[in-house]
């Protein structure tokens, strides 16, 4: 049910969802537009809307189609889409900057050298390149609390592995296609394991079960194996956050 051919595009997902997409490919403006549009939707608080979220370049909303018709909600979405240029929108407030201690390479992160070589960098240059890039949580997905972060400099446009790594541990920092994924669970992956953190991103029994939110920013701060070992008992692995103003 495509209602418009240009971006943003409103389509349906399932019987009870709408997707407002801001592009076909990942780009900073499309990701920012999706985050800003979701923020606007949350403020609108429309009757019948039950949940909203974002993917890399889209905002999704789930609603009760028996209570509120598709036509009604679609025209409300069209009006909100037209209200401003979402590609020029500011990021929502309430975001945080996280500093996450990270061991790059060593046996804790065995694919660091390989990934650095693919990016055409020495180990030191690769650590500098990643740790000095302020990365945005572009979306949370795949597993509870698990962020996709970007964008790294162009040199990191390296493909995923053709095979899968049997498993990487929770807290593993992995890289592919100018993005990083910080694993919240132990899982198999096609992304290369370049760093290890002690940050537990999903704590089902804690008052705040999820650490990161889409739109937050992250700096991966190089640390030594020794200081990493000393932070083992801290579920945050030494990570600290500050409000972004």
């Amino acid at each position: 049910m495509a209602m418009s051919q240009s971006w943003p595009r409103i389509t349906t997902l399932g019987v009870d969802g709408f997707l407002v997409s801001f592009g076909e490919q990942l780009s900073e403006p499309a990701n920012r537009a999706a985050l800003a549009f979701r923020n606007a939707l949350e403020h609108e608080n429309w009757d019948g809307v039950e949940e909203t979220t974002t993917s890399l370049v889209s905002t999704y909303l789930r609603f009760d189609p028996v209570w509120r018709s598709h036509a009604e909600l679609c025209s409300a979405l069209q009006a909100l889409v037209k209200q401003q240029d979402w590609f020029a929108a500011k990021l929502p407030g309430g975001r945080r900057l996280w500093h996450v201690p990270t061991v790059f390479g060593t046996p804790l992160a065995p694919q660091f050298e390989e990934a650095a070589a693919m990016a055409g960098m020495t180990g030191d240059a690769a650590i500098a390149s990643i740790s000095q890039t302020r990365l945005r949580v572009q979306t949370i997905g795949f597993a509870p609390g698990q962020p996709y972060l970007g964008a790294l400099p162009d040199a990191w446009d390296i493909p995923r592995q053709t095979g899968l790594t049997g498993k990487v541990p929770a807290g593993a920092l992995t890289v592919a296609i100018r993005q990083l994924v910080l694993f919240s669970v132990t899982a198999p992956t096609g992304w290369r394991h370049i760093g290890q953190t002690g940050l537990r991103l999903f704590r089902p029994d804690a008052e705040q079960p999820f650490v990161l939110r889409a739109g937050d920013e992250v700096l991966f701060v190089p640390t030594t194996v020794e200081s990493f070992a000393n932070m083992r008992d801290d579920p945050s692995g030494g990570a600290k956050s500050e409000a972004i103003r």
Partner: protein
């Protein structure tokens, strides 16, 4: 522990389930909950309680259970051979499980997922607003032998011995779908072929989704595999790299990178979950308006289940302790014993 159910023996993969945890998509956690959501309503109707009560979901086979005090139970979903102290039990019915008696639930005769409901509901600790296990998300786990599961207090202690006619959903069949955001990535010829083909349920399937096998060549979108990861929801039909469709169920991930040819209506997801390997499916495409009508009717049907309930009619030959029944006083009406 006060009121509880002791699990003496349990089949692999059994979990406590309820209606899941809506509202955490933005945190990467899918709703989860019972894969056969209709079974929750059937059990709730039989016990006269809220469909939000937590139940035991048993894939393939059940187990042996004992109650710490007299409790009401109901059995729904895939019919399994069941008995209390060797007295056979009718499926899709409510029964009294006396304190200390052994409830034995065997293998499913048809379908996959059987459900054991308790009067008052199972009450393991709430986590993120629900009691259900979400295995993929790392919340809770499979039920182990020797576990004691807390059971809530039961408001309607005396209402047992009812049965209900259920919607048949254990042998595959027609699945109603709607187009979705990515249907247009498939050309008209692919969609037409998809809607005229037969599919068989593959061996591979779990609470996250079910893989379907197709005869001949698979399905391929014009966008190939270069589709950006997008929000996925239960019911979505992802077409994976080898061209086979995969229908997502309640515990699916929150984003997926394979193109989707359509979405199965929520009302038909129990058919997907309950079909055994080899069961045959076909798809038919509805308009969104038609799909909303189906959803409206399905809700009304679920909420009206209680009015479809009737007393179990027992054959006197099946009642081993017939002489102990009070056949004359008000406790039993003569009609209960007909036939």
């Amino acid at each position: 522990m006060s009121r509880h159910l002791t699990v003496h023996r349990i089949g692999p993969g059994a979990t406590v389930q309820d209606q899941g945890r809506p509202g955490y998509l933005a945190n990467g956690l899918s709703r989860g909950g019972a894969v056969d959501a209709l079974a929750l309503y059937e059990g709730a109707a039989l016990l006269g309680q809220d469909p939000t009560a937590a139940v035991l979901e048993m894939p393939g086979t059940g187990g042996t259970f004992e109650a710490s005090e007299d409790m009401r139970v109901a059995l729904t979903g895939a019919p399994m051979r069941a008995s209390i102290d060797d007295t056979p039990l009718v499926w899709n019915a409510s029964h009294l499980l006396p304190k200390g008696a052994r409830l034995m639930i065997g293998a499913a005769e048809i379908g996959n997922y059987g459900y054991l409901h308790l009067g008052g509901g199972l009450q393991p600790d709430m986590r993120l607003g629900a009691r259900s296990a979400h295995l993929a998300g790392g919340i809770g786990g499979v039920v182990q032998p020797g576990t004691q599961i807390p059971v809530g207090s039961d408001a309607a202690r005396h209402q047992v011995g009812n049965c209900i006619n259920v919607t048949p959903r254990f042998g595959g069949g027609m699945l109603r779908i709607v187009p979705c955001a990515q249907t247009a990535l498939f050309d008209q010829a692919q969609i037409a072929r998809f809607l005229s083909a037969e599919f068989r349920r593959d061996m591979r399937g779990n609470r996250m989704g079910v893989r379907l096998l197709c005869d001949g060549k698979g399905y391929h979108s014009d966008a190939g595999l270069s589709v950006l990861s997008e929000v996925i929801v239960p019911g979505d039909i992802q077409v994976t790299g080898d061209g086979t469709p995969f229908v997502l169920l309640s515990e699916c991930q929150t984003t997926g990178g394979y193109p989707r040819i359509g979405a199965v209506l929520p009302a038909d997801l129990p058919i997907v979950a309950q079909a055994r390997p080899g069961a045959v499916f076909r798809f038919c495409m509805l308009s969104l308006a038609e799909a909303v009508d189906v959803e409206r009717q399905d809700r009304a049907r679920r909420l009206g289940l209680a009015s479809k309930m009737r007393p179990l009619i027992r054959n006197p030959h099946d009642i081993p302790d017939l002489l102990s029944f009070q056949l004359i006083s008000g406790a039993t009406t003569g009609s209960d014993l007909d036939g």
